[in-house]
């Protein structure tokens, strides 16, 4: 016990841990909503919430590792240039290993249950007469059509508070259809239709960016989308040229 007198006093460790945990939790609570795009749909509310929950759950674990590392640097670092004396020759500690396993398993199971629950909500359709929009990706533009109306557009228009079903496909290579404000993403594949659902619940404008590398102008495969009131949406539909 040459190096340090408070070698067996772990008070400092608890304090660092507590402080870092608080910092972690604060970041977890505020950073996602602050950094992520404005939430405009039920899916995105859930996405942000999940991010918060996972961050808060991870905070004490990450803080524990950081605190121990810092504590080790502070108290257990050998000073001087000589070879350090042997440390305590501990090889096993069944209690510690078991506790660690149990805690990490419990945490994982919690995250998993949360995830499966969120997944069920996320993918679900409320079944109430969704508005169907056909989405087609093509190097390097998006186009949208509204079955039953012959309307086709390069920007997306949606009514608020009504579920939308996107049926997504591509004519050339794979593209990624992503509405960052709504927390939904699915690939546009050639020869297949993939489907996703969401319910926009805020009015406003958002971006649609391609998330699947699709060649030369992938970075420019961007378009705008608009959430309108249902009257605005109906009159927008009516004002559009009817393409066959």
């Amino acid at each position: 016990m040459s190096t340090s007198t408070n070698k067996n006093s772990y008070k400092g460790l608890y304090w660092i841990w507590a402080a870092l945990t608080v910092v972690g939790i604060l970041i977890g609570l505020y950073a996602p909503a602050w950094l992520m795009p404005r939430s405009m749909s039920n899916n995105m509310h859930l996405t942000v919430l999940t991010m918060v929950v996972f961050s808060v759950a991870a905070a004490p674990v990450a803080a524990g590792v950081y605190a121990t590392a810092l504590f080790a640097l502070r108290h257990w670092a050998h000073k001087g240039d000589d070879v350090p004396a042997p440390g305590p020759q501990v090889r096993e500690n069944a209690v510690v290993v078991t506790t660690w396993l149990v805690v990490s398993t419990v945490l994982t199971v919690f995250l998993l249950i949360w995830g499966l629950g969120a997944l069920a909500v996320d993918n679900g359709s409320n079944g109430k007469n969704p508005l169907v929009v056909d989405v087609t990706g093509q190097q390097w533009v998006w186009s949208f059509s509204y079955p039953g109306t012959h309307v086709q557009s390069n920007e997306l228009y949606l009514p608020v508070n009504r579920e939308v079903e996107f049926r997504v496909t591509s004519v050339d290579v794979t593209h990624g259809f992503w509405i960052a404000n709504m927390g939904i993403q699915v690939d546009a594949n050639v020869g297949t239709i993939t489907t996703i659902h969401t319910t926009p619940d805020k009015l406003g404008t958002f971006n649609i960016r391609c998330t699947q590398f699709c060649g030369l102008n992938h970075a420019f495969m961007v378009t705008e989308g608009h959430v309108l009131t249902s009257q605005q949406f109906t009159s927008w539909l009516a004002s559009q040229p009817q393409r066959a």
Binding site: V97, T174, Q212
Partner: protein, 621 residues
């Protein structure tokens, strides 16, 4: 027998060798060039130029010619040919091949001594990291401000593909290559690898593959990302053919190396070296090698299918012919996820080793460490579809793959337990290897936590395909694996050179890289969270600040890596002398003299305990 034990530098050059005496890297390049030209000539003249796939056929022929010629020119076939014709290598031939008495020229030859191969792997790792690093700087420079025109988009797209693949190859070999070859046989108490000639073959095959991969940049038109995304890879030019061949050749190299390392550990251990007494790094190396043997066949398979799609118009991945891009994605990630652990495990094994020596304590819960590494390897073959959550492929499998992926955090958590448990109340020797190890611990936490976000499907629906994913895996590769690799380099450098890696430069490098990683990749998380997709050559104004910061951080990392390079170069011949066992460690590689003599041991040692007894201080708890 005694001649074999003399140090390589002083011993006389043996009589044997035959034709091999005239061959080296130069003849390999010339051979590769000539046969490539021959194959090109034949293909060019005899294939049908009106065929849609003509240029791809010619390109593939040329690359096959390159690698055959390269193997011929380095002398890879000499010994097998002699064996077939009944004139097996003599002892003198073998000694010549092992490089006895040949000074530094042996590093440029088909040399079988495992220590020479280890050093060659150090150099190859640095070459690959350097080339990939230059591309990274070009990519970040393009992205420093929105709408920059540092390189054109076509070139940029090629850069991201080749940068990615170069770095993957670099990290696959970064720890397992140098130290799996240099120290693992000595740690086991063996005189060389089980198959010394295969060892040289794996190294030179890697060189041939790296050359092909670098050529792709000159041939250009690589619109497919490092994952060779289909169907868009079908639109890429002949650079794609070189790219795929480079990967196929690389998998030959890793397979040969993996078999060799496993056989060495399984059959060449000295008396008393039971599996439970193996230094923990050996476990990391062989578990990674075994996982590679499972994973890399998918790699060559998927690239071969891409090639036959392009040359023979099969349509494995082309929708119009009944194929599917999803098939490509499945095969690629069947390889791709295990591969990330092929990369990680040797580094983790090395860090377990280093933490024990530096804290002067046994590895905490050795069995947990082995079980966690094995469990991780096992789990990692069952999680690949987490790279395909948003593709639309098999939505009903989302739940199961979410389950397996999140289970990964349990063995990953055990890594932290072992590392921290080993450091706990130790007398930690704060030398370069230790410092880089602490860097690993800090960064790997961030890598792991962000991995958990990505394994949750509702979150992945937001984060997939964005800079968030890019930042996640760079925290793993740069923040964790690279830190582990540098720690291992600093740790075993004295065994290779007899000198310490310069502590002062090494610390400057550490701080630059460590701070650089946080600046670069924390800002990259922000870009991703704000909604910036990855593989963008240009971006909207809202991503301006975070991208600028990322680019500055990348320059800081580059500066740190250059300082490290300077430290390696200056320390190699001029560093502070270290003696045979500078860290006062107990494993066998430290018991042999430095420089390590050819065939390592005068008399093979007999092992009576594991290498982790540092003293008798009693446990107080």
């Amino acid at each position: 027998m005694t001649t074999t034990l003399e140090q390589t530098k002083t011993a006389a050059i043996p009589q044997g060798g035959g034709l091999a005496r005239r061959l080296n890297m130069l003849t390999a390049m010339v051979g590769g060039g000539l046969v490539a030209w021959l194959f090109w000539f034949l293909a060019h003249h005899f294939l049908d130029p009106t065929s849609r796939t003509y240029s791809d056929e010619v390109a593939v022929s040329l690359t096959i010619g390159w690698i055959i010629g390269f193997w011929l020119g380095i002398g890879a076939f000499i010994a097998p040919l002699r064996w077939v014709t009944g004139r097996d290598n003599t002892r003198a031939d073998d000694l010549y091949l092992a490089g006895q008495g040949q000074g530094t020229s042996r590093y440029w030859k088909f040399t079988t001594d495992h220590k020479v191969v280890g050093v060659q792997y150090i150099v190859m790792t640095m070459v690959l990291l350097g080339a990939g690093g230059i591309l990274a700087m070009a990519i970040r420079t393009e992205l420093i401000v929105p709408g920059n025109h540092f390189v054109n988009q076509q070139v940029y797209n090629g850069f991201i593909a080749v940068h990615g693949m170069l770095m993957i190859l670099a990290l696959i070999v970064a720890v397992a290559g140098p130290w799996g070859n240099f120290v693992v046989p000595i740690m086991c108490g063996a005189r060389d690898m089980a198959f010394p000639r295969l060892n040289a073959l794996s190294l030179w095959t890697l060189v041939g593959a790296a050359a092909l991969l670098l050529t792709t940049l000159a041939v250009g038109s690589l619109t497919m990302g490092w994952v060779v995304l289909e169907p868009i890879a079908d639109q890429a030019g002949i650079g794609m053919d070189f790219f795929a061949m480079a990967i196929i050749v690389f998998t030959v190299s890793t397979t040969v190396a993996g078999v060799n390392i496993i056989c060495t550990v399984m059959t060449m251990r000295t008396k008393g070296m039971s599996l439970a007494r193996l230094p923990i790094f050996v476990w990391g190396a062989i578990i990674a090698a075994a996982l590679g043997l499972y994973a890399f066949p998918f790699f060559s398979l998927v690239e071969a299918q891409t090639l036959v799609d392009r040359t023979f118009s099969t349509s494995f991945f082309v929708a119009s012919g009944g194929g599917a891009g999803w098939l490509q994605a499945n095969l690629f990630w069947l390889m791709g996820h295990p591969e990330v652990y092929v990369i990680l495990l040797p580094a983790v094994g090395a860090l377990f080793e280093i933490s024990s020596v530096m804290a002067r304590k046994p590895v905490f819960s050795y069995r947990t460490a082995v079980a966690a590494m094995t469990g991780l390897a096992g789990l990692s073959i069952l999680v690949w579809a987490h790279h395909m959550f948003t593709t639309g492929w098999a939505p009903t499998l989302g739940g199961p793959f979410m389950l397996t992926t999140e289970l990964i955090s349990i063995p990953t958590g055990l890594f932290f337990l072992v590392l921290i448990g080993t450091l706990w109340r130790g007398n930690i020797w704060m030398k370069l290897p230790t410092i880089w190890m602490f860097g690993f611990i800090a960064n790997f936490i961030i890598a792991g936590v962000t991995g958990i976000y990505l394994s949750d499907i509702p979150l992945d629906d937001q984060l997939h395909g964005t800079m968030f994913v890019t930042a996640h895996f760079h925290y793993v590769f740069v923040g964790s694996v690279l830190f582990g690799a540098v720690s291992a380099l600093a740790f075993w450098f004295p065994k290779v050179t007899g000198r310490f890696l310069n502590e002062f430069l090494g610390r400057i490098s550490f701080w630059l890289v460590f701070i650089g990683v946080q600046v670069t990749f924390l800002a990259m998380f922000v870009s991703g969270l704000k909604g910036m997709p990855r593989r963008y050559s240009s971006y909207a104004i809202i991503f301006e600040h975070s991208n600028f910061i990322t680019t500055i951080g990348a320059y800081i990392i580059m500066a740190g890596m250059l300082v490290l390079l300077g430290a390696v170069i200056t320390s190699w011949n001029k560093g502070e002398p270290a003696g045979p066992n500078p860290w006062h460690a107990n494993s066998l590689e430290w018991m042999v003299p430095t420089p390590v003599p050819l065939e390592n041991f005068d008399v093979l040692p007999v092992i009576t305990e594991d290498p982790y007894n540092y003293g008798e201080e009693l446990v107080r708890s």
